[in-house]
Amino acid sequence: MDYLARKYLRGRKIPSSACSGCGLGQVHKKVLMAIDQIGLTTGDVVWGTGIGCSGRQTFNTWNGDNFAGTHGRVYAIATGLRLALPPSKKIILTVGDGDAFGIGLLHLLHAARRNVDMTVIVADNFGFQSTGGQYGLTTPDGSVTDSSPYGMRDPNWVQDGRDILDIVKGAGAGFLARHTSIEGQNAVESIKQAIRFKGFSLVHIIYPCVTNYFSKALGTRDPEVACRWLTERTNPKTEIEGLTIKTGIYPVTDGNRLEFSEQMQQITQAVQREKSNGAN
């Protein structure tokens, strides 16, 4: 185990049971680096996870308090939890693309609308990989997967002028960023800002699934090929066909809205002040 794992993780699930070549650990590590560089301890963070590769593999790895929610509902759970936890406690959620942008999108948008203080790390492996490799909400157009043998034509959330981060931004998210797991410190810097942000923040991180996605789409499980494919498509200088990934911090319009639990506290305090004034 490296210094991050020794400092923050439980030994029993490290290394994870993820496939050889799975990039999820790269995402996981970047989140830990951000936590470490901010100077947080295991007691400062409550870590929640969703369903799928990203949820199952990161659940109960954190050497503090952990929870795993039902599929897509972890944003609603975190909303309730936020009311109970002191504001200083960070809530960090590691979830998948299906969890955040599919089954849980409604709850995700409402958490953004309410500006609930949480950091959502969407670890995106281009579809439903823990169930064997079906296309999902971010699968590149035309991809052959187990459930799109003739090429996926279901409009995804990330191509043809659609960008899921636009939707989350429209719902009121105060901090958004997008990266790939094979990027370096620049991705860690974005995650640090997300965790520091008081309110709803989300970092979308694309990582390679070599077992299911790339083996079908590129015909190889070689992580090096997957890395090259992602690198070519990340911030390309010339036009290329198909999916491209623009990484970095995503501009938002209003990052200074009142946070949800603070808003709730204010209501409670105002009602009680009025009551005691009335009594005087």
Partner: protein
């Protein structure tokens, strides 16, 4: 003691607040909307929070999240929302998180008639989620006062059993106006027989014991106990596992912590059973009030009729049905739900019959005539699907 004249919905709100409820998350739905409204007004006075959720899935998940953080929480709905609770309900059952759920039943299926009473979720409340391998606890009030006291009790049981508790009310109980006594002192709380449990925090490392114990504190996040709770089958320290032995321990705990402690659950009410009546009417919730009147009316006419009024619906109180007699199940549906459980629980050689109403209460005279027919050993005349020998 505060004496109020108010609805069941108001009584439920007051009961929750007395029990220490700090978070209510809900989605408006008739006939439970008033609970949300009352909570939104009352909770800020009690350092609590009202959250209007985007749907019922979120409502119960928010409540469970709050409870996971150590705050007592509750949600309320009617049938169309109760079915959406299936997802979070299972999570709370499996992760053993205390939370209170109220269902003001209206007539269905689906949206049905919003302002008419129903009793269609008798079995749904036994199996409010998928997967099996658990027992449910469900309480059924039949008055405004009891809506108050059973809400307090539901919070108490949720803490001791560390699980979601359903209060299965109906539109007449929640919308009806009656007088209501609310205790104001510790003595008055005791005097009324109300029980309140404070939240305790499981310090680990064993969060999920392989026993039928109750009173094991639930997992609470945010205290750096190394707590782990998930939707997966847990090891005793909360790791997700695929080893069947842990599944067996998990199922054993979820089933037997309830089955082996039924003695602390509220009992059923026996009405005029001392002289071994010829017919026993069986009901819960608002029809039980008509049943009670019918017993009185029948007795006045010299008919030996008694009644059993269920307060705890699940686990089903089989003990209440030890008499070999003719039972008549009176319920607010035409398909017959309670009647099936009575049939299962009653001794061999007993008879059970069914009298259902749909969207409205039965009449006293109707019940008395049905009892008379049964006493006279005549077949209960089948009126289409409303009345039949079961």
């Amino acid at each position: 003691m505060k004496r109020l004249f108010d609805t069941g919905n108001a009584a439920i709100t007051e009961g929750a607040i007395l029990a220490g409820c700090k978070v209510f998350a809900g989605y408006p739905i008739t006939p439970a909307t008033e609970i949300a409204e009352n909570m939104s007004r009352r909770l800020p006075h009690e350092n609590g929070f009202y959250v209007q959720a985007e749907d019922e899935l979120a409502a119960l998940h928010i409540c469970i999240g709050a409870s996971l953080g150590g705050l007592k929480a509750m949600t309320a709905t009617s049938g169309p929302g109760y079915i959406l609770y299936a997802d979070p309900y299972g999570w709370a059952l499996g992760s053993e998180i205390p939370v209170v759920v109220l269902n003001a039943q209206r007539v269905g299926p689906v949206s049905g008639i919003t302002g008419a009473p129903g009793q269609g979720e008798f079995y749904l409340s036994r199996y409010p989620t998928h997967g099996g391998n658990f027992e449910s606890i469900v309480l059924a009030p039949n008055s405004v006062q009891e809506a108050f006291s059973l809400t307090v009790e539901a919070f108490y049981l949720a803490e001791r059993f560390r699980m979601p508790i359903t209060i299965l009310a109906d539109q007449i109980v929640t919308d009806g106006w009656e007088s209501l006594l609310v205790p104001e002192t510790e003595d008055e709380i005791k005097q009324m027989g109300l029980r309140i449990a404070t939240r305790k925090i499981n310090q680990g490392p064993e969060f999920y014991p392989a026993t039928d114990e109750i009173d094991v504190p639930p997992v609470v996040l945010g205290h750096n106990t190394g707590a782990a709770c998930s939707d997966w089958t847990p090891t005793s320290d909360g790791y997700d596992t695929e080893e069947v032995i842990w599944q067996h321990k998990h199922a054993y705990r979820l089933i037997y912590k309830v089955r082996n402690h039924q003695d602390i659950l509220p009992h059923y009410e026996e009405i005029a059973l001392d002289d071994n009546p010829d017919v026993i009417l069986v009901a819960y919730g608002s029809p039980s009030r008509v049943v009670k009147s019918a017993v009185r009316a029948a007795r006045e006419q010299g008919l030996k009729v008694g009644a059993i009024r269920l307060i705890t619906l699940w686990p089903f109180p089989d003990k209440a049905f030890e008499r070999s007699v003719k039972y008549l199940s009176v319920e607010l549906n035409f398909d017959g739900q309670l009647v099936r459980e009575v049939q299962r629980a009653m001794p061999k050689g007993s008879e059970v019959h069914f009298l259902g109403r749909c969207g409205e209460l039965p009449k006293v005279t109707e019940l008395v005539e049905a009892a008379r027919t049964l006493i006279n050993n005549q077949p209960l005349e089948s009126i289409q699907w409303q009345r039949e020998a079961w």
